[in-house]
């Protein structure tokens, strides 16, 4: 483990230890927060009892669908916008102000359009994530050295071959950054959507526990979501680091 990683771990463990101390000493009341050790213990019980299986399956499936759609459509849209300068001039200001739009206000509209099922949640997760992927794709394509495009022409590659064999690999560092953001935004969109109106899923389970003053369940679920989101993002980060290591100067 590197020095930086050790320092990061120490900060996290220190924060957890401080919370444990403050909650155990009563500085933070139990109605406000339970000790982290109790959160973990209760999470273990819930997992063992299989209480999380259904909401977890639903939330992860929704996140996975939103993420897959955002990555594929965001990447394709980024490529299309990059190809068409007029569309680019139109899209650039929209993308720049995209995250100023509070998407959750559209939730009732999405329910009216898509029905009271998983798709409004997926739509919110997708809407959150797709712009990140589009912006990352555009950034990546903007930075592909022109000489590599010339090499593609010298090798007489077709458009699709050039895209998959040269352009996208050259843009990979930016695409990977887009993947990480898209995953995080998919999580945020889906879980926040479940909080608001869904009758199932992890977000709903947290909101239900909150409404029922069930702190143990609420904090256990929050811990679960946080740990999982960090774990998934870290896995992507490790993959990115491995891929990028070969591109760095020795």
């Amino acid at each position: 483990m590197s020095k930086v990683a050790r320092a990061q771990l120490a900060v996290i463990l220190g924060g957890v230890a401080l919370l444990e101390l403050l909650t155990r000493a009563g500085v933070i009341g139990r109605l406000t927060m339970i000790p982290p050790s109790e959160m973990a213990a209760h999470l273990g019980i819930m997992l063992e009892a299989g209480e999380l299986n259904a909401p977890m399956t639903q939330t992860f499936a929704n996140v996975a669908i939103a993420f897959a759609l955002a990555v594929s459509i965001g990447c394709l849209a980024g490529v299309a916008i990059h190809r068409l300068p007029r569309l680019r001039r139109l899209a650039d200001p929209l993308l720049a102000s995209y995250y100023a739009v509070p998407f959750f206000v559209f939730y009732p509209l999405l329910i009216a359009m898509l029905g009271l099922n998983r798709w409004p949640l997926i739509a919110i997760g997708f809407a959150f994530a797709v712009a990140a992927m589009m912006i990352a794709t555009l950034n990546g394509l903007d930075r592909v050295p022109r000489v590599l495009r010339k090499v593609a022409r010298v090798h007489r590659l077709g458009r699709a071959e050039e895209m998959f064999l040269v352009t996208l690999p050259a843009a990979a560092p930016h695409l990977l950054a887009g993947l990480k953001l898209a995953l995080a935004y998919s999580f945020i969109g889906v879980i926040a959507g479940e909080f608001i109106l869904s009758g199932s899923g992890l977000g709903h389970a947290i909101a239900y526990a909150y409404d029922s003053f069930d702190n143990q369940t609420m904090y256990a679920l929050m811990l679960f979501v946080v740990v999982l989101a960090i774990a998934l993002n870290s896995a992507l980060h490790v993959w990115e680091q491995r891929l990028m290591a070969r591109r760095r100067r020795a």
């Binding site: 590599l148 010339k150 022409r153 090798h155 007489r156 064999l165 100067r249 020795a250």
Partner: protein
């Protein structure tokens, strides 16, 4: 000209930009014979790279025609033409081996043939110890050798090199020049090399094309008369010095003109 490999006829290139029209090149003519080594030298901005890219089919001329082995060159690089660029054009996500094999795999060459050609090219370029290294782990000169090898394995009949040694120090350039001459002798390819280094141009070429300031035209095409077996040792010969001085005498005025100083220092006065 016996066994013509490529021909530029009445080529000129005008770039349209927001600031108006820029006449970059021509009109000019150039015939390249099979197995000939031609170098082009000229002042900065005279259109050397435009000339090379026009010949390669990477840039369409505004006027004139380009042909390769009798066929017209349109907006597609013809099969049998290889180009080495001035910039680092290695693929950073592929190791040396995969970089060199890239074009062969794309062309559907059999695996055994790919192995044989890549192994030879790696040995030829002295990259044996770095076959599994990535470009980021190599020096600038080694990366350029990877790009030359990537072109070499395709066995092009016309090799176009755009200042391939521009980023290298003088000693390495001379040695790389020797490698290039060896490659030329072994492949019997026609080579056109663009350079801003007069000594490099004179040392390598059968013919040196001296270009004017923009819009670039040939002010002289000089036959060097060197034997095919030449090497960088030729720089010690008196004839080399004379030829280099002659090229500079033709270029000096053009270089000053390119710098906007033609009036201050008359062309043709060799100091």
């Amino acid at each position: 000209m016996p066994d013509l490999r490529a021909r530029l006829s009445g080529i000129s290139k005008v770039f349209e930009s927001g600031n108006g029209r820029v006449h970059a090149l021509g009109p000019l003519d150039l015939d390249l014979a099979a197995g000939e080594f031609v170098t082009i030298v000229g002042p900065s901005g005279c259109g050397k790279t435009t000339l090379l890219e026009t010949l390669a089919g990477l840039t369409a001329p505004t006027d004139g025609t380009v042909s390769f082995e009798g066929g017209p060159v349109g907006d597609e690089v013809p099969a049998g033409v290889g180009v080495v660029f001035q910039e680092d054009a290695s693929f950073p996500w592929l190791n040396v081996w995969d970089n060199i094999a890239f074009g062969l795999r794309r062309a559907g060459v059999a695996a055994a043939e790919i192995r044989a050609r890549v192994t030879y090219a790696i040995a030829f370029m002295g990259l044996q110890a770095f076959a599994r290294a990535y470009p980021a782990q190599l020096s600038g000169g080694m990366r350029q050798r990877v790009c030359i090898a990537r072109t070499l394995v395709l066995q092009p009949r016309l090799i176009l090199l755009d200042e391939p040694f521009g980023a290298l120090d003088q000693q390495t350039r001379l040695l790389m020049g020797d490698e290039l001459l060896r490659l030329w002798r072994e492949t019997h390819a026609t080579v056109l090399l663009i350079t801003h280094a007069i000594d490099e141009a004179v040392m390598l070429a059968d013919r040196v094309g001296v270009m004017s300031a923009r819009p670039g035209r040939f002010i002289e095409l000089i036959e060097t008369g060197w034997p095919a077996s030449r090497s960088s040792a030729i720089v010690a010969e008196e004839a080399f010095g004379k030829l280099t001085a002659h090229v500079w005498s033709r270029l000096r005025g053009e270089s000053l003109r390119a710098l906007g100083r033609a009036e201050a220092e008359p062309a043709g006065s060799v100091s």
